[in-house]
Amino acid sequence: MMRRRAFQLGFLLACVGIVVPGFAQQGHPLTGTWNGDFGPSPTQRTQLTIVMTWDGKEAKGTINPGPDSAAAAVFLDVINWTVRIEADMKDQSGKPAHVVAEGKLEDIGNYHRTISGTWKQGATTGSFKLTRD
């Protein structure tokens, strides 16, 4: 009986554990840390982290926070829930490359909402996907 109750409790907590994070951040839908990757093909991917903020007038991003971070301008189209991210980064050879990423914000009520779309870095075009951390 005790084990059954423990199992039920564990199951309940597991379910709640799954459910509760989905109901966490409820403010501006871009605010927070987003993790994912980008690349020209499914097998060529580069890890990507963007921290986005909203100050009441504009959204801003910091790509890959740390010594090699890049500031990004972020634009949200609230009619279509699309996002455009622009930044000046460096490519793998260290050369400057302008990045334009355009994607769709999905499941905006979920804490782990996503943005996915096209990623253009210099002359290279690929895809990206970000999930709110």
Partner: protein
């Protein structure tokens, strides 16, 4: 009746929603398909007289003989008790005929609009629709220093409940049709609700269109901001002038509490505070009105029914005025420059419930039924 009678019919959304509101106290819009109706007959197998909604389960047999177990929500047990109902009104093994609104998705669950005991045709769990007893009109009780008492007079008991409105809209005098959950009758009225920034309006409309499916309150998260004054389970002020604070004990939201400091401390800045559901509050008296400023809210809740967004920049200024023994006027000014184009104000009144205490309420009590089923 041994055979399943299961019909799902499309009916007027308005009629169904009205029925839903009559039977339940938690936001039903996101959980139930208010434009559909289900009829069930079967045998009661379990009775859960728990918060926030009492349930019973019933085994329903279909035409092929297959039995399925349905959960039937019948309303908040405190409200049912107030209406004179007890869990013993129904017994395991009874056959019942149920009409209700089916839950969204694959769950075999419904919110009852009618429960009839098959053996004698008696209708169970019917709301009394009697207004709460109102205390006789009396002047505002006061402290020796002349300030109004926000709680009961010495030797008495009571609490604040029954808000005159359960939605927050800008006080412009324009009527905006919506239900008790804040669901607009016409989505194009969203501009009249509050001076939203474009993103906040888009998110508000998204929440409206998705029938509040992401509402944290429906997952037992605390009703921070102005929302705890909209819930039907009431609240109580505990004034402690000797230590410079007022405690707000909340009947809903898992019997949470809130502290309002009245010792003259500064309100602080959100960047220096731990962000919480109820924020950090300081209060002072302006004549007979307690004015409370609150900052330091997190973004993990909806600060009012209806899904109006806010950010960590939210600053609420609440004004509590006890105009007589029975009436508390609540006015709140919402200042969130990251979500709204300007500060705006709304409010309602709250009625004194004399000679009663806030009753026990724990949202998680039927988490098993709500989450796992």
């Amino acid at each position: 009746m041994k055979y399943l009678k299961l019909e799902i019919m499309t009916v007027s959304a308005l009629i169904a929603l009205s029925a839903a509101v009559a039977m339940a106290q938690r936001a039903p819009s996101g959980n139930y398909e208010s434009d559909k109706k289900v009829k069930l007959s079967g045998i009661v197998t379990r009775i859960d007289w728990v918060n926030p909604s009492a349930f019973f389960t019933v085994n329903v047999k279909d035409a092929t003989g297959m039995i399925s177990n349905w959960a039937i929500e019948i309303g908040n047990p405190l409200d049912l008790q107030r209406d004179g109902w007890k869990p013993t009104a129904l017994h395991i093994g009874d056959t019942v005929n149920v009409e209700g609104i089916p839950a969204r998705g694959p769950r075999r669950q419904a919110m009852a609009t009618s429960v009839v005991l098959a053996k004698n045709g008696s209708k169970l769990f019917v709301p009394s629709n009697k207004p709460r007893a109102k205390a006789a009109s009396q002047p505002v009780p006061r402290w020796p220093d002349g300030h109004p008492r926000l709680g009961p007079a010495p030797g008495k008991k009571g609490y604040w409940g029954t808000p005159s409105s359960t939605v927050l809209v800008e006080n412009t005098g324009v009527a905006i049709p919506m239900n008790r959950d804040g669901l607009l009758t016409n989505i194009t009225d969203s501009d009249k609700v509050a001076p939203f920034q474009p993103w906040a309006k888009a998110l508000y409309e998204y929440r409206q269109r998705t029938l509040f499916k992401d509402d944290p309150y429906n997952r037992c998260m605390p009703p921070g901001g102005a929302r705890h004054f909209q819930n039907p389970y009431g609240f109580q002020f505990i004034e402690q002038p000797e230590i410079g604070r007022i405690l707000l004990l909340l009947g809903g939201g898992d019997r949470n509490w809130r502290i309002i400091y009245t010792d003259g401390r500064p309100i602080g800045h959100k960047d220096e505070l731990v962000l919480t559901y109820y924020g950090t509050s300081v209060g002072k008296w302006e004549g007979d009105t307690l004015v409370v400023d609150t900052v330091g809210f997190n973004e993990r809740f909806w600060f009012t029914n209806g899904g109006l967004p806010h950010t960590e920049a939210l600053h609420l200024t609440e004004r509590f005025t006890r105009s007589d023994l029975n009436t508390l006027r609540y006015q709140v000014t919402v200042d969130d420059p990251q979500a709204y184009t300007r500060p705006w104000t709304g409010g309602w009144t709250i009625q004194w419930v004399p000679d009663e205490e806030i009753q026990e309420y724990f949202c998680e009590e039927n988490a098993e039924t709500t989450f796992v089923r």
